[in-house]
Symmetry: C4
Subunit: 238 residues, 4 copies
């Protein structure tokens, strides 16, 4: 590689986001949310109109900060950036749409995790019948429209569906699940929790009728969790 | 850190309990009982009116003896103790209530493990149809009331429900499972076994009607297991 | 330990059996057949009226050749043998009964693996609807009687049930699964395959009616597998 | 070993195929598609009328390039080749049939993975209700006939069934799943994805009616994925 071809120098914020996004993909593997090269994490670069996302069709074992793809908020690869010779995730347009339309979102995750996708294949929202789900999602996990990859229709479906709900997760019909967070790690947590509640509620209902949680209890649990839980509660996104 | 800020020296019993409680969280991960930062183990400090519990919202990979939280039996963090700058588990009040009201209990575990929580979402006790369950729990695993975090209501529900049963595990409606033991390790074993029987009995019933075990056989199995099994049988707690 | 307390010297065959039995327990863990200290493997000592079995209630991580228990075919611990200060598995009487009554058996395994135990909780044999099951078990996996631990009744139930079947696995009602093999490794393979077919057939039937395999095809598959498959086919046991 | 017994020198293409096929078996283990010694991967040697396949009944931990078996397209072991003292997989005739009749196929995989085999035990094709399945298989995963091992009937069933479908996977009734690919890695990917969709669609349908995907959307997804996805799209095989 000649000097002319060397990647453009990047800000510390870009480098940190590359490291975080690359590392967080290991959590998708650890929790069994993805197989082969499916699934993707992105993170907004703090203070810049950019985000970092996984390359398309690359093994999880081969992901590294320098092969993550740096994109503008229009979903275009930044020319001359590290990894720019590769294609970004085929879901990049959807991630970009979310970043453009939801400025408080700092991270987006997409998976085809088994139980979440099973609810999506029935276009059925996941009812809020366990307290951990009230804590994390504040109610049901809703279903967005069937949308074909390749234009803004997936992104539009995500944003329009999340607007009517507290949930940071949305099931896209016949497809899988998208989650948002205040940063990439927070969106990964939402993806892990979404699959966990999708599985638990599926299994619960296989055994018989579910006991609902009263709405005021859901409200109280959600409020406490967003404001009290953990070492540094920072409030809800959605 | 200046000398004035150094943690108060702790007894060997506190240090050993910190080590045990920190290490036992790895068993929750090994058996798939928890995701992300959910779930918690606590252990009573032998000979002192104290217990040790997990901090709130901290990664399992980052748990260590020195960041476990030392609490009084009222659930208050001991001022000046190691880790006292962090918040204890949001379930601390429930653990404390159990230690205050059940003096024979030396360990408490709480998880949202999948199958146990599925029974809890239906408020349905797990029937005793396998001998390992008769051994370990002496009958059904009962369901306690729906209770909101934040006061003594979870603790009261646990204690009141366990009083009428041999079981060391209680499903809390719409929430998850709490287990007790003569020490923290014993409570972790109960949590592992509770999920195991919750899963096996769920799957069994999906396939058709279950064959009950006669009550006298349950009694005989429970008695033998509590008094004969293992290298150092020490009898049942509950 | 003084010289007087040193374990009795053991034959190479005993030492090899201790090593094999200790190591094979790791396969039960690898395939998820056991939790905590449940489950046990034993192996007959070739050329001696002895077998080696797991100690009772000991962690899988702590199993080693020297703490395996050496027993006579009456299920008595050999005095002075390595590990003889510990109790053998509480299922030792059942293993001993099998070795006494089935001289061709060189290994016995017992687990409470999830799906096999689920069928056992319904006292329902597993129908032979997949070719791998015809290969390995030659037909259905049958169910033995409900029997309480502590005398010969489990052993008698295992032997009586296996006599009418090709299967090397038997589900004991409300309890779990026992498997036999020409050696301990072969019995472990049968335990792994029994859980695999128990799971597959359970899931298959949840989705609708199963397609039976004609009896002559089952016979043909079983015959081929016992005589042709693998590098050193040695024929069937049962 | 004397010089006369040394294996015949092999071409670089054979050696590379041995390495690839041996290594790819680890993916079957990683994704839980196989137990014990079940399952097998083969790869065609580029530019030669040969393929490499797993030996029969050998532990996954013991697989290595030098014990893979080199076969002619008639399924005969190449005399004098490395590993030729061992038997090839008992499914070798089926793999060979596929290579002879489908010249564009460079890899074949066979497993008894749980969910795929469950659909096969009902002789029921997996309907295409998730977009990842439309991407990868272009429609349903079909079911081939019941066929006994030992002649060409399995191979004939695979080829005849695949001819009427875009799918690179075929469920063989009461048996398991076979997949094909442009090379061995691609066939392994198809095996991983086939089990993933078999599981997701099974679980989805347990919860209620599935929402179909319109045929034109399936067509569009399949076309895009075969031509656009990943770093080096190379088009579909089937």
């Amino acid at each position: 590689m000649t000097a002319a071809q060397a990647p453009t120098p990047e800000s510390p914020a870009v480098r940190r986001t590359r490291e975080q996004v690359a590392a967080l993909h290991a959590e998708l593997v650890r929790y069994g949310l993805v197989v082969w090269t499916g699934g993707n994490v992105s993170g907004r670069v703090p203070g810049e109109d950019l985000f970092v996302i996984k390359p398309s069709g690359v093994d999880y074992d081969d992901l590294a900060p320098e092969n993550m793809i740096l994109c503008t908020l229009d979903g275009e690869v930044v020319p001359g950036s590290a990894g720019c010779d590769r294609s970004p995730s085929s879901d990049t347009a959807a991630h970009a749409y979310v970043y453009r339309h939801l400025p408080e979102v700092g991270g987006v995750v997409h998976t085809h995790s088994t139980y979440a996708t099973a609810w999506a294949a029935r276009a059925e929202p996941i009812p809020c019948v366990i307290t951990a789900m009230a804590d994390e999602f504040g109610g049901e996990i809703p279903v967005g429209p069937f949308a074909i990859i390749g234009d803004d229709s997936i992104g539009r479906g995500i944003v329009a569906t999340l607007e009517g709900h507290r949930s940071r997760a949305v099931l896209m019909q016949n497809h899988g699940v998208f989650t948002i967070g205040r940063d990439a790690r927070d969106a990964v947590k939402a993806a892990v929790m979404a699959e966990d509640v999708a599985r638990t509620v599926h299994i619960a209902r296989q055994g018989g009728p579910l006991v609902p949680i009263p709405q005021e209890a859901i409200d109280s649990l959600f409020d406490r969790y967003q404001n009290v839980y953990g070492q540094n509660p920072e409030g809800s996104l959605a």
